[in-house]
């Protein structure tokens, strides 16, 4: 579903934000993407979603090359950006309708999905109000609904739990599990190792643009016996 092969991104011709990184996310997998601040996580996600062009390497989403088949690749992605503050002058329902139009969702599908998602995230009463009046958490919930309204095969989520209340956070995690069970791919960045531990089939750890680990949590723990995930992470990223 996601193929990220030998990708490099250099800023200002000097700073290697991502250095020849390769990984793959298959259908049915939930993959956690973690690393210290400034390790290249956001740069990687921006390249995956077509926001940033890579300097070298190949990126494929759902079989489509992000450079050559940009529109098809982007249509396959449900992306939640790190900031939910966009188009705040629109009402929640106007924003969702606009996004559904962008992703060409049929009338029936959008009504069904918006109803279902808004109820799961307890946002039904707020949708007819301008997003300007929403709290940060409500905006984040709306972004989650918008990212999922076209039922994309690939979810790419940048710190999706930020600002969500415990119930919404739980709902999102449940939805990630349900989505992966249907054979889709979920790729999300996080700093919360407990979330990665409980949710992910696989973790990818990155530091200073270099891939440190790509594999299952069981495998990682077996390499570092009697250590907590937190200790393993600190040991890997500090040395």
């Amino acid at each position: 579903m996601i193929k990220f092969k030998n990708v490099t991104k250099v800023y200002n011709k000097t700073i290697k934000a991502v250095n020849n990184v390769s990984f793959e996310v298959r259908g049915g997998e939930i993959v956690g993407f973690t690393g210290p601040n400034g390790s290249g996580k956001t740069t990687t996600i921006k390249m995956l979603t077509g926001i940033l062009p890579p300097d070298s390497g190949k990126i494929k989403i759902n079989g489509f090359d992000i450079k050559k088949n940009m529109i098809q690749a982007k249509s396959s992605i449900g992306y939640i950006a790190d900031s939910p503050d966009m188009f705040l002058r629109l009402k929640g329902i106007e924003f969702l309708n606009f996004i559904a139009d962008v992703y060409k969702v049929s009338d029936d599908d959008r009504k069904k999905r918006v109803s279902e998602l808004a109820e799961r995230f307890e946002l039904t009463d707020a949708l007819s109000s301008p997003m300007m009046s929403y709290s940060h958490g409500m905006r984040q919930k709306l972004m989650v609904i918008a990212a999922l309204v076209h039922n994309p095969p690939v979810w790419i989520l940048d710190e999706p739990m930020t600002g969500l209340d415990p119930k919404s956070s739980y709902e999102l995690k449940e939805m990630m599990r349900e989505h992966a069970k249907k054979g889709n791919a979920v790729f999300f960045s996080t700093h919360v190792l407990e979330v990665a531990e409980k949710l992910c089939d696989k973790v990818i750890i990155i530091k200073k643009g270099n891939l440190l680990y790509d594999g299952t949590l069981e495998n990682l723990e077996s390499q570092h016996l009697n250590q907590t995930l937190e200790n393993i992470f600190l040991e890997m990223t500090e040395n």
Binding site: N12, K46, T49, G50, I51, L52, P53, M70, I71, Q72, K74, S75, I77, Y79, A81, S83, D85, M86, F87, L88, R89, L90, I93, E94, L96, N97, F98, A100, D101, V102, Y103, K104, V105, S106, D107, R110, K111, V114, S115, A118, T124, D125, A126, L127, S128, S129, P130, M132, S133, Y134
Partner: protein, 553 residues
Amino acid sequence: MRLYLKFVHILIKSVEFSDDEKKRKKIFNTAMALIVLLGIMLPVSFFVGIVVYAITGGLTQLGGQEEGIALFLHLISAFSFVFGLNVIYNVFYFSADVESILPLPLKPYQIVSAKFTAALISENMMQFMIVLAAMAGYIFAMGLPIWSWLVAVLCMLTLPIIPMVYCGIIALVTMYFTHFIKNKDRVNKLTGVLTLFIILGIVLFCGNMSDFSTDSITQAIASDNSLLNVMNIILPHIRFIVSGVSGDILGIVIYLAINIVAVVVFLLLAELMYFKGVIGISGAGSKKQRSVDFSKTVKGLKTRAVSLSYFKKEILILVRTPAYFMNCVVINLVWPILLYLVYALQGPDNFLGKFFKDLSNGNATAGLIFIFCASGISVLITSANSIASSSITREGSHFAFMKYIPIDFMTQINIKASVAILISGLGMIIYVIIAGILFSLNGMFVLFTCLISLFSVIFASYFGVYMDSINPKLVWDDEVNALRGNYNIFYNMALSILLVAVLCVIAYLLFSFVGVSEIVLEIGLMIALVVFCGISYLLCKTRATKNIYETAA
């Protein structure tokens, strides 16, 4: 003092135009700044200097030599006040940095003084040159000694202080005493309306003159001192700097003393009132959420074509954001009313009246001028309303959205340009038709002028989007900042007008000196505009799409 300077420096840096790392863009920005400086600022300053020189000469004979420069400085101060009011409210109370600054162990006067200085500098850079030019005109007309230039420089640097202090005091007092004003949207709407009224006042003043020559301005000043008398009460310091530049040392001392007292009073008020005014205010999002039956809300979800949906989104944001509505939309509605007011106030026997009479009679030269004016005004209004030239800038922190949605960049550019074409073009065409009816113009002539206007608007819209794509100002914390200090808008306006002006000059030379008929020239203008449209469209297709792709989000 060091803390104050550091604070001012940080505040100015935080609203500066985004500094792109790419050498190509730096060269572009430098080149554009030079074009604006040499092509607009210097000629405008030179023109101002000449006008003040001529008026001062005329008024000297009538015994009121200081009145021309005084009125000019009052006018400049009025502009500082008009444009400063909105800026001061936003900088003091609604900018995103307020939430970070308030928890710092700083006294209110320290915050307000730094914010005031930063706003003063960034708002008045362009004004400095014009004030100096006006002073130069006065110095030359009066034959004043060389040290008068020092006073002129002092005036240039300090003139905006008192109008901005007035803005600051109004903001402090209203935010302290009233709850109504504690809303960003309301402030933007109110200051926008106030700006319109002040511009209307200037138009009414202009309407009293028989034409726009320096003689009639001189006559207007000499015959009626009431405006100057009122302004002297509101801005008492100006008469002292005017006498100071003529050699009155006491005048300079009093001028400085008035400025110092005004700043001290302002900072004392800030110490007393700022915290109470700023704590607990909300941005624009203080509207209560309406509870609507969810099933009805969901029924509103209907499929639309992607382009139409994107187009609607752009229009809704333009219309619902007061800063955009006042600066980008209202301007299209206001200018013809102002122009008509000038015409109506002057009566049918003056310049505009004579021109339209010639036009109604089918005068070829008047027809040619009308068509060229329609083209020029279309380009001017389309670039001045900045709908196109801030279309990418307005995306701000969510610029990435343009890049991750499955809509190709050229489609998005077409939609953004279409919004500008609709709002600017519709306005222009409606006004051309109204002019046609009012002055009983030939139907074909009106249709042709509408087409010329439309092509001018299309050209300026695509060119505006292209210009904005080169280096969009994506870092801003409120919508006013997206437009304020955005040089793309200014560069686009300068280049678009320059291109159309070159066309008009060539056509006029061909008409006057070579004897080319007006029909040929009008068709020639149409062809040239179609070519311009094609070039700007291609620039968008080949360059702007690449610029968007390469711009970091």
